[in-house]
């Protein structure tokens, strides 16, 4: 039986690597696997993909490649900060499909040289040289949604530095988890609820976090502002109790017989 190849997907910051992989996965129901090399501490893409594509096996650091290659197709996203020329994998790189996702207008690059297939995305060339991306793990933080909206608007409008790409997963007080995405040259600012079970008891233990790519990013101010958007233990317990109480008093739908 023919086996699907392992797809190694690379490209500059914000070129649309995760978007392309997601497009491949969302249109298929067959078991698949995904890993993002270089983003183990803040697995935003991994969380987004596995939450929206239940048939995709979430792969985190420490998983053996022997196990990984059992599930194919396997999509391996390679973060831009990794040096492609020094990339070492337990499988032969030559045996994999090497795909570069590059922005419009980027004619030559290390990504073109390395890949066996180059795909042109809709985003502009502006971000091609950006690789440094401050990241914040926010697991356990629960944010006030109105504050999050203000923070996000300020962030993407440049209040904390010139942002080329930002994406994050945030937990809000009613127990829901949201994915936010912004990129210069992207058609829309995106945010939507992830299909995950609500957390209404104490702090969520599932991953949440933020990644920002840009110029002169004020990492400390961003961290402080996010802290100001968060609920303390007392406030969180109060609101969770309110929501649980509200849910428990809602009458079940009337059954007609």
């Amino acid at each position: 039986m023919d086996r699907h190849p392992i797809y190694l997907v690379t490209g500059p910051c914000g070129s649309g690597k995760t978007t392309w992989i997601h497009q491949q996965l969302i249109t298929s129901n067959e078991p698949s696997a995904y890993i993002c090399l270089g983003a183990d501490a803040t697995p935003i893409d991994l969380t987004y993909i596995t939450a929206t594509c239940p048939h995709v096996k979430p792969i985190s650091a420490g998983t053996s490649w022997a196990q990984l290659t059992e599930i194919q197709p396997l999509y391996v996203e390679i973060a831009p900060q990794l040096d492609l020329s020094k990339l070492q994998l337990p499988v032969s790189i030559e045996s994999c499909q090497r795909i570069a996702i590059v922005p419009k207008g980027l004619i030559t690059s290390e990504y073109h040289d390395w890949a066996t297939k180059t795909l042109i995305s809709e985003v502009t060339e502006k971000n091609a040289t950006l690789t440094a991306s401050p990241r914040w793990g926010l697991t356990g933080e629960v944010l006030d949604p109105a504050s999050l909206n203000v923070f996000w608007d300020e962030l993407i409008q440049g209040a904390y530095g010139s942002v080329a790409r930002a994406k994050g997963i945030f937990e809000i007080v009613d127990g829901r988890s949201f994915y936010f995405s912004f990129g210069v040259g992207y058609p829309d600012v995106t945010y939507f609820e992830l299909p995950l079970p609500p957390v209404l008891n104490e702090r969520p233990t599932r991953f949440s976090g933020l990644e920002v790519v840009g110029d002169k990013i004020q990492a400390q101010v961003i961290m402080e502002t996010l802290e100001d958007c968060g609920l303390d233990d007392n406030a969180l317990a109060y609101y969770q109790e309110q929501i649980r109480s509200q849910l428990s008093t809602e009458l079940p739908a009337e059954v007609l017989v």
Binding site: A146, N149, V150, E154, T225, C229
Partner: protein, 269 residues
């Protein structure tokens, strides 16, 4: 008579200076101020001294009240946790900076002023904290004007200037009681609500100051938008140690902290 109405200066001395110069050029006969002289901006004392020195009739705004009586507004004043934290930083800073005589001046300001058929308030006739948004329903809007007994109600607080004309009309109020329903009809004359916008903390997407000129002879209103060197204010915000995000928001034409969204809510203290 041509009157100028200014509001919501919020410690922005550069903006106030520019607006006063523009008022001078417009040859206004009298100036009224709708309060919020202090809060968020870097020059609260200088702003109050300027208003005092010019003897400008002024009502007390919600920020002026909070500086006098302490920050005890209910949660409705803050639409988000972030806004609350920023507001408290601004309040603490302003409270530390304000001179005793400035505090005394703010304490004695009236809640409303009358000039013939005109009434001047900060938020609404009911409360300095109440927002009279342009889209508030017609009945509420009319009730607020009629509560003053005036024909024209000048307000601020929303930071967005507008003129709303409430056409003359027939109103019917029905009261349901145990012994039946009674109805009372009355005719409401033409009324106006005129919001003066904000001198020092605009919210219309540009950093320019706004105020209004009203001509009592022909009832005409002109909304004025005045450019000024807002970068000087931004610089002063940074130099004074206020949060840098205030400078960024001012430069974008955004309020330092966004306003509460519920226009019908009245702060209950």
């Amino acid at each position: 008579m041509k009157i100028a109405v200014i509001s919501c200066i919020h410690g922005n001395y550069e903006a106030l200076n520019a607006v006063l110069s523009d008022i001078d050029r417009q040859k206004a006969d009298k100036i009224f101020c709708l309060g919020d002289l202090v809060g968020y901006g870097p020059d609260p004392n200088a702003v109050v001294e300027m208003i005092r020195s010019m003897d400008i009739p002024t009502v007390q705004g919600c920020w002026d009240e909070d500086i006098v009586e302490g920050l005890n507004a209910c949660e409705c004043s803050y639409p988000s946790i972030l806004a609350e934290k920023r507001g408290k930083v601004a309040h603490g800073w302003t409270n530390d900076q304000i001179h005793p005589e400035v505090r005394e001046y703010l304490a004695q300001l009236p809640l409303s002023l009358r000039e013939e058929n005109l009434c001047f308030v900060h938020g609404s006739p009911h409360n300095q904290h109440e927002y009279l948004m342009p889209e508030v329903n017609a009945f509420t809007a009319l009730e607020r004007v009629m509560a003053t007994g005036a024909d024209v109600l000048f307000c601020g607080h929303t930071h967005i200037p507008y003129v709303r004309t409430l056409d003359a009309g027939q109103l019917t109020v029905k009261i349901q009681q145990p012994d039946g329903t009674s109805a009372k009809q009355f005719t409401a004359p033409l009324k106006q609500i005129i919001n003066a916008g904000s001198v020092g903390e605009p919210r219309h997407g540009r950093p320019n100051a706004t105020y209004v000129i009203y001509d009592t002879d022909n009832n005409l209103t002109r909304l004025r938008e005045v450019e000024y060197d807002y970068q000087l204010t931004c610089q002063a915000i940074i130099e004074q140690g206020l949060p840098a995000i205030f400078a960024w928001r001012l430069a974008q034409g955004l309020e330092y902290a966004e306003r509460a969204e519920d226009p019908t809510h009245v702060c209950e203290r």
